[in-house]
Subunit: 333 residues, 4 copies
């Protein structure tokens, strides 16, 4: 019997990387080769995230050593810092799922407008956008998968059937997220007393996930910029997008459109009523409800995910499964 | 020196009535004459809401006795049950602020479509919609004030300057509320475990506050039905409306429009960035931020209130102050 | 290859039963035969608990039909209602883990003082208290396992090494629990607004878990009634017991005592600092920290569990594994 | 008519100082002269704490200028940093309520063991411990009041009647606090995701409030060190102490003892059942319940306060009222 593929998780001290490490560690097929961290090397992951129960110590990344010899890597670095690591891994023949924004945007100019100067623009053409429901075959054949942003994951899945059908004239996306989406850094905004008993819009008109959603909706045929406003909620994990679509869709048709679009999808549930994020907590599911506002005719589409699971880390494993020819749901069902 | 006006609070065992009782009890000018409850007569209010510190016992309503001889009443009954009590109070010469929906909608047919058969339609013409920022003079002269719904309070204040200026072509209102807005009844939806770590849309396309918002926007000149979707959040008090307006407004003008509209208003703050509901917790303030989405040109207007204070009970006292010629902010600043 | 044992979960519409159904449904060895409910028959479990992802419909219990032919059952009925169902299952040769209190107390008089008249006292002698760390061998040989209460699970594990060593002269247990411990019923006490931003002692001096803790500590040699006070906290899952022990223990010895006591236990972690309940969320782990108060010499022992997992349902599966000769951690690691 | 006394709040950018500024600003008798901050000078307080609605700008402290000419000051500096400011204010004839720990402990050696080297030990003899229920007359006559710690406020009030009656043989205090007690600093421990859905003991055996409680219980006649363990809870404001007292008290007597002890106290409520912290939220009240455990005979005494109000800032105003001969409840009832 062949050796199980070995997987490195780089940047495993953050929320996303730590969960990726747990999922790989318990995966029936992959072997967690190592976990690394720039800030917490020497610390056992269990000291930071006891509930993940990964009995491994965080190491400093050493690509010239053993870390460069793995079969695959999930890279959970901040944007800008990720590209060089990804490039080095690819050069060593390692298959990569990158959780940063560095390879999500196909247009270099847009990336550099919203983020920083790109260190490896030559790799942009090789990257596949890691939303299996849209790019399953390309992911299977790819060595570099760009894990989508959490909001884009929910928004694109929630709007794709309409976009593909040419039924989006205009769209407002009011998004709501738990605090884990803001990362592990302790700031005034993530202080418990700031968030508790509160709800606040943020990144209004400027959030970096807006051009990412635009890119994918355009690829599906809906070339209209989205009005996208995220809000911070007092909960840890969970993300809801409430999408308000000006559309020529007929009331009787939209539910059938969604049911057909997602008929065979293992991780998209088209549900009868508006989902809550609790419904998909700690799952790789995106639950979607679509209906027509009887007063205004707008299409209302609601999508709920767990931002750390389907929005980031379990979706990365979903791509990894595809890249290694495994059953898509293995280890994340 | 004249006697202070005596005020009855009917339905004081609910969240809104109890807070109204507290505000009247501590008001420098009014005297809390009695508090009544259909379900909890005989119980001290302190046993239900210790932090309000109202050392009074709830009584059964007796309009033929002392309760009919008060100068004013705040009625916090459910819709349908309120109209007969209000009618009886008015017949005894009592000035009334009604917190139910019974006198909010000027069009009887709309009321009966969304609520129940109206028991006192003959009073609809006498009622003034109790949003002081819109109807200050009428409230001063009225004996029957219909306290606005919590969502309409936030939504109308947040959209009024645009509506008045003819700058609303279309509007989506994504509203978020804490659980106190759902009232004191223990149900599956208000169970802690249902709400905690969750966010859920509800009343999609059917919520009763939509026609109320329509009515007032139309009165201001914006005769367009709103797309209105409320969401339940894991917090107790606080309500945010995120309004997405398709508009011919010029970027440079909207902030000035709002600042001018609310220049003299004691309880509306036009603020620089998107407000959180914590900013207005336990105040009679509506905090509003307006901006233009640089990507889509939509006007984004955010309004935050405390649903039990400005959204209900302190706003009722604001009206009561006006009805009795008192300083508008007395007892609620 | 032999058929996998079939398992019935009776009372699967409550929090504990629903989680038991999920754990059995995903268990690599057992087969979920049916799930039943007195109140929600006809409803898919996914409609009540979508995140558990159990695609089964709740049925009415029919012990004379297929439900009586299963190999094992987890019964999640309220106390009093459970005993007759358990008796009927045992009569049909079904192995049972009962999650009610009906078979926890070996002394009939104590049971009837704290609960109700017992319908099947003749079975008390057959029941094994389902704490594998104390009764592993007896559970293996038993057909009737009484799943411990959630507080007793945490308290007994946290105090057992001291009790066994004769080192408890007196003990105060201050316990804290999330709301799921109060069950699914919507009441004034479980209303979000009652629990949020609150912490309240309850069941002071009268809680039914006190005699259960006493029984097991006495069995270990510590025949002293515990002072036990639970508190309700604003969180869903998680339970912490803070135990204050007057003891002759020597400072240098207690940590070693605990490490030795739990050296081989797969589901008890003796940890360096006081655990938080988040550390064990959605795990079958009890995390225990023990230390000596340097000011007073008291032994301080803290134990954290997830009340629905180790405190109830995953611990039931742990027993089921033992009863069927499976690896103890199968399906719950 | 005489000028109202002018009050400086130094350190007004923290949670405690900001609330003190609000309470003084709205006080009917005092005049808020200035608010200062070392970190946020130049910022309006409304930008940090909009709900307090204090339309003042934070300034750098200038004791040689106008800030040295006020009638009174509330100093909300960290321990160690406070003493020099207090000394300078006293030298200028300013009456001071200090919210730090610098003047709480009468024994210099104990202070220096638990905190730092004391810069002004010569002032220790002048300081009065600012718990009005114990030291009302001394506070009236004092120029330097040391505001008690939040836990000591709750613990001492909850235990004082027993201590005074010689009825404490031993006592365990299990304390629970919201996150505002940890202050405004953003750290790993105050990150929302660390606190949410969690409860954790901290400062076990070493918390600085233990010797403070000891000091005051000893002064009342109970010379026994307390076993004191605080826990961090997922809420912002509120503190509960659960006290377990080994005592010779007779069951029939303890309630009467407490009712008598606090008969005339405006801010201590002896209540029938265990209080929740929500009962006293945003009040200056300490709610206390006392009972005997029927199983073990221990005295159980529960005390609930709002840690920022009675535990810190409103209690400071209570002292200020006494120091200026005002009604004790003025501005904080």
């Amino acid at each position: 019997m062949a050796e199980p593929p070995s997987v490195l998780v780089a940047g495993a001290s953050g929320f996303a990387g730590a969960l990726a490490a747990r999922l790989v560690d318990r995966h029936p097929h992959f072997r967690l080769a190592a976990i690394t961290s720039r800030s917490d090397a020497g610390t056992p992951l269990n000291a930071l995230y006891p509930h993940h129960r990964v009995a491994r110590e965080l190491e400093l990344l050493d690509l010239d050593g053993a870390h460069g010899e793995v079969d695959a890597a999930i890279v959970a670095y901040p944007h800008g810092a990720s590209a060089p690591v990804v490039a080095a891994l690819l050069a060593r023949g390692v298959k990569v799922v990158d959780l940063s924004a560095d390879f999500r945007l196909r247009d270099l100019a847009v990336y550099e407008e919203y983020y920083v100067e790109h260190q490896h623009p030559e790799l942009l053409g090789d990257a596949v956008y890691g939303l299996p429901e849209l790019y399953r075959d390309a992911i299977r054949a790819s060595s570099l998968v760009a894990g989508p942003g959490c909001y884009p994951t929910a928004a694109i899945l929630t709007l794709a059937p309409l976009a593909r059908a040419g039924l989006i004239d205009d769209v407002v996306i009011d998004a709501k997220s738990g605090v884990s989406g803001a990362g592990r850094a302790a700031t005034a905004k993530t202080h418990f007393v700031s968030v508790d008993e509160n709800v606040t819009p943020y990144g209004v008109g400027t959030h970096r996930h807006a051009p990412e959603i635009d890119q994918e909706l355009a690829a599906l045929g809906a070339d209209v910029p989205v009005t996208f406003t995220p809000h911070l909620l007092p909960l840890d994990q969970g993300e809801l997008v409430s999408c308000y679509v000006t559309s020529a869709a007929e009331p009787g048709d939209v539910v059938a459109l969604y049911e057909e679009a997602y008929a065979g999808e293992p991780f998209v549930d088209v549900v009868d009523g508006p989902p809550g994020v609790r419904d998909v907590r700690e799952t790789n599911i995106c639950a979607i409800n679509v209906q027509i506002d009887p007063r205004t005719g707008k299409v209302l589409a609601f999508g709920a995910i767990d931002n750390l699971w389907k929005g980031t880390s379990s979706q990365a494993v979903q791509s990894l499964n595809l890249m290694f020819g495994r059953p898509e749901a293995e280890g994340i069902a």
